[in-house]
């Protein structure tokens, strides 16, 4: 049973002049089998939380701990975290020119699984996973994310999620910029991953609409760099109706009106 435990996490980013504190004491525990929705207005620090857990060099942890099954995540390099079972589906996946998607996927799977996958099985596995996400097989020979539309990038993030089978998946605004069909396909991909084993999901989102497809067990409201309220799925309904005004003092909708 995998457990991701975040305790009193403080994170700063180095800006032009002085370090700026973005996360101000985040406490959150995600166990295998649970889906936690992190909802909050723009600029509340939701994405920073995801990047800090993944180990992006731009962010400095000033205090607090992050452990995965008791192991200190913050001591690990970015790739060690991934191999330990953490996965971050990024809001803005990076383009890597000249590296084909198929080469990238095989290299990543080899690293995460600890051995090169059997070629014949692997080809079949990738083909099937791509078909599940309505991805044209031609993408396998294209450079990683290069020239992909927003929706194509997100589908490929979920493709990687399915192939790398992490213990804990962090989905950073995977729903942003998706049309209705793409949102459905991507959500189904996440649900397949959830159904595939005992895994934990941290679903970061601004809007409630993805929660119609992926049902959360817990909903947390993120504002001002920390979790300000936690509850069950009913909290999402409340946000849908009232927006974030209660937490920020300004009107920002959580539903698409």
């Amino acid at each position: 049973m995998a457990t991701l435990e975040i305790k009193d996490l403080h994170v700063s980013v180095v800006s032009e002049d002085a370090p700026k504190e973005i996360l101000k004491g985040v406490d959150l525990t995600i166990k295998a089998g649970e889906t936690h929705a992190i909802m909050g207005p723009n600029g509340s620090g939701k994405s920073t939380l995801s990047y800090a857990i993944a180990g992006h060099p731009k962010y400095t942890i000033t205090s607090g701990t992050v452990t995965l099954d008791g192991e200190d995540v913050l001591e690990m390099s970015v790739d060690e975290r991934a191999r330990a079972g953490l996965f971050l589906a990024m809001q803005y996946p990076v383009e890597v020119p000249g590296v084909s998607m198929s080469n990238f996927l095989r290299t990543a799977a080899t690293a995460v699984r600890g051995e090169a996958p059997n070629l014949r099985h692997w080809v079949k596995e990738v083909k099937g996973a791509m078909a599940d996400l309505d991805i044209d097989p031609a993408f396998a020979e294209r450079s990683v994310n290069e020239g992909f539309s927003g929706g194509e990038k997100k589908r490929h993030e979920i493709l990687q999620l399915g192939l790398l089978q992490p213990k804990i998946a962090i989905l950073d605004e995977t729903d942003s910029g998706l049309d209705v069909d793409a949102l459905r396909v991507v959500s189904e991909g996440v649900n397949r991953y959830k159904a595939s084993g005992e895994v934990g999901v941290m679903l970061i989102t601004h809007y409630t609409r993805i929660l119609k497809y992926i049902s959360p067990d817990f909903v947390h409201v993120f504002a001002g760099g920390r979790i300000v309220e936690s509850g069950g799925p009913e909290l999402a309904n409340q946000l849908e109706a009232e927006g974030y005004v209660k937490y920020t003092g300004s009107k920002e909708a959580a539903a698409l009106s």
């Binding site: 991934a82 990076v94 690293a111």
Partner: protein, 385 residues
């Protein structure tokens, strides 16, 4: 790369002193002044490291030229009085003129007309450490010929030469010039390409070894419909100076050119210079041209200078453009790959391989492609990246 133009980069800082059309050329070395280093065409080159190639050093040896010719391809070794020589272009700087004045024997490789020939390899081996030598090679693609010539420069010593490429009407010539010299070698080379009507050349320069390597490929068109693709791939290590100065001289209507040079640099004092000149003369209506240089700086202490110059004397063209970018290793790409479990050193290799992939994929000779891939791997191993 994300970090464009954050690096030492001279794009835009230089205004050509004179039109490229007025660039002086001569077969005679004495028609050129000995450069002092402040001249526009020499200002990036470390003259002190040229072993006197620019200031009249006499030959002390001769480079060995060995040709592994494909069936149907003829190879001749001729004296300097052979009247077929010097037809593809006139030396454009003092070292090229010195080479033209000083070589004792030339090699002429002729691809048969109206036929497709297998790759031919010309291996030039320097005369050894401390030596000075001059050479001359002419590659002729006869009418409607189709074939590949690989020029493989290796060994030690200082060497200057002119390489002519005479591409007859309707011929398609592919050239891969690999500068894989020993660490102490100095090579100053001018390539002269003359393209006939509807002739094409795919000209790739690869520069890996040597202390100083300076290559000046010049393309001229003798008829309409000519098409020149000039590719360059270089990897400069600590202390190496690699300079590439392609010049496309569009003097005929309806011709095309495309220049893409990409280099990686690593280590203290690694220096790459790229001067890309394109001149579209009044007569060259319907010209289509683009030139691009990209440099990837892998470590501190390396420097890339990149200067694209585009001169257009007629408005009746299809298109003309240039681009130059020098960037550091992109940390976001590394983060993305590592976030998928790929260890840092492997991720770096993937990114650098990816950077060169576009050019390597264009090399149609598998052995050469594999050799380049292996060379890039070895370069990356060397720095521990």
């Amino acid at each position: 790369m994300a970090a464009l133009s954050t690096q030492p980069h001279s794009h835009g800082a230089v205004v050509p002193v004179a039109s490229r059309a007025e660039h002086f050329t001569s077969y005679d070395v004495d028609a050129f002044e000995v450069p002092g280093g402040r001249e526009e065409i020499w200002r990036f080159t470390p003259l002190k490291r040229l072993a006197g190639l620019h200031s009249g050093a006499a030959a002390t040896g001769s480079a060995a030229v060995e040709v592994n010719a494909a069936a149907g391809v003829t190879v001749e070794t001729v004296g300097r009085d052979d009247e077929r020589l010097g037809k593809a272009g006139v030396p454009g700087d003092r070292v090229a003129a010195q080479a033209y004045t000083s070589f004792s024997q030339a090699t002429i490789v002729t691809l048969p007309g109206d036929a497709k020939s297998e790759p031919t390899t010309v291996t030039v081996t320097g005369a050894g450490s401390g030596s000075v030598s001059y050479g001359h090679i002419q590659i002729k693609a006869s009418q409607f010929a189709e074939g590949t010539v690989i020029l493989d420069f290796r060994g030690s010593g200082a060497y200057a030469d002119n390489v002519e490429f005479l591409v007859a009407d309707g011929a398609h010539l592919t050239v891969i010039a690999i500068h894989d010299w020993a660490d102490d070698a100095v090579h100053v080379s001018q390539h002269h390409v003359k393209l006939g009507r509807d002739a094409t050349i795919k000209h790739t320069v690869v520069t890996l070894g040597g202390d100083v390597v300076r290559v000046t490929p010049v393309v001229q068109y003798a008829g309409r419909g000519g098409d020149a693709e000039l590719f360059g791939l270089y990897f400069a290590d600590a202390g190496q100076h690699q300079e590439h100065r392609p010049f496309i001289d569009h003097g005929q209507a309806n011709c095309r050119s495309n220049v893409v040079y990409k280099g990686a640099l690593q280590g203290e004092g690694a220096h790459a210079v790229w001067i890309g000149d394109v001149l579209i003369r009044v007569a060259a209506e319907g010209t289509e041209t683009f030139e691009l240089n990209r440099n990837l700086i892998l470590t501190d202490g390396a420097r890339a200078d990149s200067v694209p110059n585009l001169e257009i004397e007629t408005g009746e063209i299809e298109g003309a453009g240039h681009a130059s970018a020098t960037g550091r290793f992109d940390d976001e790409q590394l983060f993305y790959l590592q976030a998928r479990g790929i260890p840092e050193d492997q991720a770096r290799r993937l990114v650098v391989r990816g950077f060169f992939q576009e050019l390597i994929a264009k090399i149609a000779v598998p052995e050469v492609r594999e050799r380049l891939e292996a060379a890039i791997e070895a370069e990356l191993e060397a720095v521990g990246a």
